[in-house]
């Protein structure tokens, strides 16, 4: 799922989630501008993110007693967000900043439109449903 906080966001996603999963769920015609756009959307979201678990394990494990405290004290996430993250401990938690990948136009389309974020979540959760059915 995509959780948006203004200029930044979290992606709570299966570690095996791929560009192909995203494109399959986006359902644009192959070779079309729609598919080109879907690729840009994926790159914009996944292209320049920080894996929070890895960040904690590699750099902050000694400084913060546990992952939840790190999320609260270092990143400033509130209790609700920390609960979502810790409830999905088997998933990959990616932290990103809209536009940091360099695609201003696509990042603006996502950042300022709640209903676009809803559609992205529909795509991301569709991938998860398909995986469970398989």
């Amino acid at each position: 799922m995509l959780i948006s906080f203004g200029e930044t966001y979290l992606l709570v996603i299966d570690e095996k989630y791929s560009r192909e999963d995203f494109l399959d769920s986006f359902k644009a015609e192959s070779g079309s501008w729609g598919e080109f756009f879907a690729n840009r959307l994926f790159s914009c979201l996944f292209g320049n993110t920080t894996n929070l678990q890895e960040e904690y394990e590699l750099f902050y494990k000694e400084e913060y007693a546990d992952f939840s405290i790190f999320l609260e004290k270092y990143h400033g996430f509130n209790e609700e967000v920390i609960t979502i993250i810790t409830e999905h401990s088997g998933s990959m938690i990616l932290y990103g900043n809209y536009g940091s990948e360099g695609d201003y136009d696509t990042s603006q389309l996502i950042e300022y439109n709640e209903d676009v974020i809803e559609s992205i979540n529909e795509i991301l959760t569709q991938g998860a449903k398909d995986e469970n059915q398989n």
Binding site: F26, E29, E35, D105, D115, V116, S119
Partner: protein, 138 residues
């Protein structure tokens, strides 16, 4: 000392042209862009296409278009000064062949995909439709 509490935005617009072999339909244009009704993004592109079709005009109506007619004497003048040489040649050819030519503009304050079309550089074509919205891309 003066303190400003408001802000100035730098709004922008992009002119576009669509050339079509026949009268263009909304679902045809959605298919041209490659969006299917099964896509979670369908509702966004459908809304954008609806507004695009509502606001765009045909080349034949150019001289009565108050927004453009102050700056350009006729459609050919607008086309030559606004679009690339390649697109201008396609427009001239399309006119000779009796194809449909639509024009309009996107604004950066338009919602969602229309704003995206304004700030991005879009050039898409197939055998039946040519869509150029490159001019003034950010």
């Amino acid at each position: 000392m003066k303190i400003r509490t408001d802000f100035v935005t730098n709004s922008s617009s992009t002119n576009f042209i669509i050339i079509s072999s026949e009268e263009l339909q909304q679902d045809q244009f959605a298919k041209f862009l490659g969006f299917t009704k099964k896509s979670p993004f369908w509702k966004h592109i459908e809304e954008a296409i609806y507004e695009l079709f509502r606001d765009m005009s045909e080349a034949g109506d150019f001289t009565s278009d108050r927004y453009y007619s102050n700056a350009y004497t006729e459609f050919e003048d607008f086309s030559k000064k606004t679009f690339s040489e390649e697109t201008y040649k396609k427009i001239l050819k399309a006119r000779k062949e009796g194809k449909k030519i639509y024009y309009g503009r996107f604004r950066s304050e338009d919602p969602k995909f229309l704003s995206f079309f304004c700030t991005d550089s879009i050039l898409i074509e197939n055998d039946d439709i040519y869509f150029d919205a490159i001019e003034c891309g950010w």
